[in-house]
């Protein structure tokens, strides 16, 4: 095993990179140095996080690489970080996507490069920190601190309605998370502990659980987002710069799902049992409704944003099935969606950089000029639809298998959503890629360049890898998920 604080190094390496960048003077010539510094810091973090995976003990369901220091003298708040099967891949997802984001912004971010890179590195630190926290207060601090860089990224480098979108994003998610703060304090008052590990032993009375559950729900339902709390998402996605959308879809939405697994399932099992019908209803409405809305979009990014809400509906169904297939499916769907939607946003970014529009109408027949682009786009599009052999299939399949144990209505709803997802994605693909070039402006559009290849090909490989060898990812998380399910069943059997 590793005897140095690996997790802390992973958390704070991007921040150290940010501090170094802070002291690089920005002008025309040196902005390239800033980009390289940011790229190296994030790549270093990614490589270190791979060590996390390689050294991971598959037979241990609880936290590994734990680090614990006393933080507050008066209360039991600790700086307590560690990784288990659930957070491992969330951390990997964050560290994998951030360097790609830096690369994706290499040439299209021209103003305030320094602030941009600072925001991204700070964002990476807080994202990893959030997934690695075992202390709830620490979790909360990271959870809210995410808002600061994201607010700046949308607000400074976003599109025309960026100010509206950034405020909506910030205030909406803040409203959810402050209620969680109250819930966290109530939990602490009842148990005198802030350890996620400890609190998973079910210590709350039934009525307390119901209130706590609602407070956590307010926060995570906004974050994931569930219908009807999703309205901030299309705005934020559309206005954010490409890399901002990538992180938003790739990692920030998963904070909601992660929170549901850790807090709602892990700590409030009886209340979860009570609220399962609510979640199922909302999820099915979300899947069907947002799929239909996605079908009607004219903006590519907005379409993908709505498809995210639908995919997250599958995730919430999977989580709240509370069985092995459901939870594994939800985790796989989160990882897969993190890769696929991130890649789709990057693909949109590729043509947006060239044409500066995201209107579907504008495009058509891109395959004539951009064959390579058409190919990678197809892989991700099929991944999003859930074609066997891609990552999307595994998640959706497992969730549906799990759902059969619960109720066939849920299966019908979820399956209907999957069909709809095929409809809107294929329709989108047909409209922008196939056909002949009808728009003269597209006549000399260039295919993807080397930098874009470097970004998109690793994503395409991992989407397929995930689809062919799902056990590579499922094995490490299996025991941790089993632990949560066992605790849940014990609590509800009482």
């Amino acid at each position: 095993m590793i005897d140095w604080p690996l997790v802390s190094v992973i958390i704070f390496l991007p921040l150290i990179g940010a501090l170094i960048i802070l002291f690089i003077k920005e002008d025309e010539l040196t902005s390239i140095n800033i980009k390289w510094a940011a790229l190296l810091a994030t790549l270093g973090t990614f490589i270190l996080s791979l060590i996390l995976w390689l050294q991971f003990d598959y037979s241990n369901p609880s936290y590994q690489y734990e680090e614990k220091f006393r933080w507050f003298d008066d209360f039991n708040f600790f700086y307590h970080v560690g990784v288990d099967g659930i957070s491992l891949f969330m951390i990997l997802l964050s560290t994998f996507l951030t360097p790609l984001c830096i690369l994706a912004s290499w040439s299209n971010i021209k103003k305030r490069v320094k602030e941009y890179m600072l925001s991204f590195l700070f964002l990476e630190t807080v994202m990893i920190g959030m997934f690695a926290s075992i202390d709830i207060l620490l979790f909360y601090i990271f959870f809210e601190a995410v808002l600061i860089p994201m607010y700046l990224i949308i607000g400074i480098w976003g599109g025309n309605r960026r100010i509206y979108a950034s405020f909506k994003f910030f205030l909406y998610t803040l409203l959810g998370s402050v209620l969680m703060l109250i819930a966290i304090i109530v939990m602490y008052r009842n148990t005198s502990s802030m350890s996620i590990e400890f609190l998973q032993g079910n210590y709350f009375s039934y009525n307390t659980q119901l209130f706590l559950w609602l407070a956590f729900f307010a926060s995570f339902a906004v974050k994931i987002p569930m219908w009807p709390f999703h309205t901030w998402l299309p705005d934020a996605h559309v206005e954010a710069p490409t890399a901002g959308s990538v992180i938003l879809a790739g990692v920030l939405l998963k904070m909601g799902g992660y929170g549901f697994i850790r807090f709602s399932l892990g700590m409030l099992p009886e209340a979860t049992e009570f609220f399962i019908p609510l979640i199922m209803t909302l999820s099915i409405v979300a899947i069907v409704y947002t799929s239909l809305v996605a079908l009607a979009q004219t903006d590519i990014k907005k379409l993908i944003a709505y498809s995210s809400v639908a995919h997250m509906g599958i995730v919430t169904i999977g989580i709240f099935l509370v069985n092995q297939q459901g939870l594994e499916g939800a985790m796989m769907q989160m990882i897969s969606h993190g890769l696929v939607s991130a890649a789709l946003f990057l693909c949109v970014g590729v043509i947006y950089d060239r044409m500066h529009t995201r209107e579907i109408e504008f495009y058509g027949g891109l395959v004539q000029r951009m064959p390579l682009y058409a190919t990678v786009f197809m892989i991700f599009m099929l991944g999003s639809v859930g074609l066997p052999g891609t990552s999307g299939f595994i998640g959706e399949f497992l969730v549906i298998v799990g759902a059969f144990k619960f109720s066939s209505y849920v299966v019908i709803g979820a399956a209907f959503g999957i069909i709809l997802s095929a409809v809107y994605m294929l329709y989108l693909y047909k409209r922008i890629i196939f056909g002949t070039i009808s728009n003269n402006k597209l006549a000399d559009i260039l295919d993807i360049n080397t930098r874009e290849k470097i970004i998109l090909i690793p994503l395409a490989i991992s989407v397929i890898l995930l689809g062919i060898f799902p056990n590579l990812f499922l094995d490490p998380m299996r025991l941790s998920l089993e632990l949560i399910i066992t605790n849940y069943e014990i609590a509800n059997a009482k």
């Binding site: 933080w71 507050f72 003298d73 008066d74 209360f75 305030r112 602030e115 909360y140 601090i141 809210e144 601190a145 808002l147 600061i148 607010y151 700046l152 607000g155 400074i156 960026r162 100010i163 950034s166 405020f167 910030f170 205030l171 803040l174 409203l175 402050v178 209620l179 703060l181 109250i182 304090i185 109530v186 602490y188 008052r189």
Partner: protein, 478 residues
Amino acid sequence: MLNNIYNIFFIPEIFLACSSFVCLLFGLFLKKNAFRQTSNLAVFVLLLTILLVYYDNESNFANYKSLFSHSSFINFFKILALLGSIASIIISKDYFLGIKLKNFEIPILLLFSTLGMMLMIASNNLMSMYLAIELQSLSLYVAAAIKRDSISSAESGVKYFILGALSSGILLYGFSLIYGFTGSMNFDDISFYLSKYENLNLGLIFGLVFVMVGLAFKVSAVPFHMWTPDVYEGAPNSITGFFAIVPKIAAVALIYRFCLVPFENFYLEWSQIILFLSIASMFLGAIAAIAQSNIKRLLAYSSIGHIGYILIALVAANDDGIKAASIYMFSYMIMNVAIFAILLSLKVKNEYLINISDLKGLSKSNPIVSLSISIIMLSMAGIPPFIGFFGKFYVFIAAIEQELYVLSVLGVLASVISAFYYLRIIKIMYFDEIKSEGIINFQISFQSKIILSLSLFVIICFIFYPSLLINISASLTI
């Protein structure tokens, strides 16, 4: 016991009073640079007073037990007030010189008002409390109107005076009722007298309400807040800074002591009043600030909102509440010192910055300054990882300990509303397109720079070692 008569001069309050007179004489006989020299001397005197307060254990004030009290809570707030006072004198020096207001009386007035505040915090008797409040307020009335040739400054001084006098009158009437019905002015005696009764009689309730109204004026809690935005707006910026930072500390300490010492057994009676003041202040502070275009008015409403949060901890009325109040007050002081240190050094077209919209483009011309303002604003909004979050966090811990769930939820909702206007400042600095450049100057003296850097350091780095402050505030007894 005083073994030696000279020891009397080492009592912090007496030392401060005597040195203030020395400062006055010193300023009077200086021909050149009187303002600057007196300010420096005043800062030095205040520093010495901090030392005296720090080493002033039990012995001295015990002799004045009937009038003043002594506790760790009192000492903490005294030191806080002195620190705030030092910081605001240092950061305002250049501003006064910049607007050619070189009366050496200004630091002296602030010294006397600080003396009043120290007495306010320590007072243990209705009479000494009233006199201390008056000493503090009278100096501040003059300070608000110190820019004699400016109509707005004079107006703000007069407004402050009239409303302050009104509130003092109400306060005094409340005192007389309390004295009339309990037969004592001493906090401890009142407490002892009241402990014999189950219920307050009508006269005492009236007295309590009147005193609460008077104190609410002093802390500027809604609905007695009307003077705050006007006075903040009219007074010279540096005096506004002083208003925002220091008197609030003393007034909060006073309202805590008044509720928790003589009336501790009648929690139900006063907590309803404070509960209302708290909710009204949080929401009005959050909503009214949204429409402001003047940064000073905005900070006035922001301070009203902060008072609302501190009053939550008072409603909680437990040990955690006292702890929360001291942490919150500390963070409030630090954040205000930092923001005023910046505001007093920012010039737009050779005028000191007043309109929020003038901050436009600051992120281009002064990236470090705009980053600092953003951090302060996020901290004031209570977003982690900055110090403002921990202030609010402790307040809610105290409230939930007392099972005040509804109040806590209202509190966090108000904090979301208030986040809007703090974010708006960041939006103006970073998001808005810049039309013209280079009109904003940031000139800061070395001393203010130290103050600013120190307070920013505390705002950012509090999270890494919170125990330092928290251990102190956990040990406070009222």
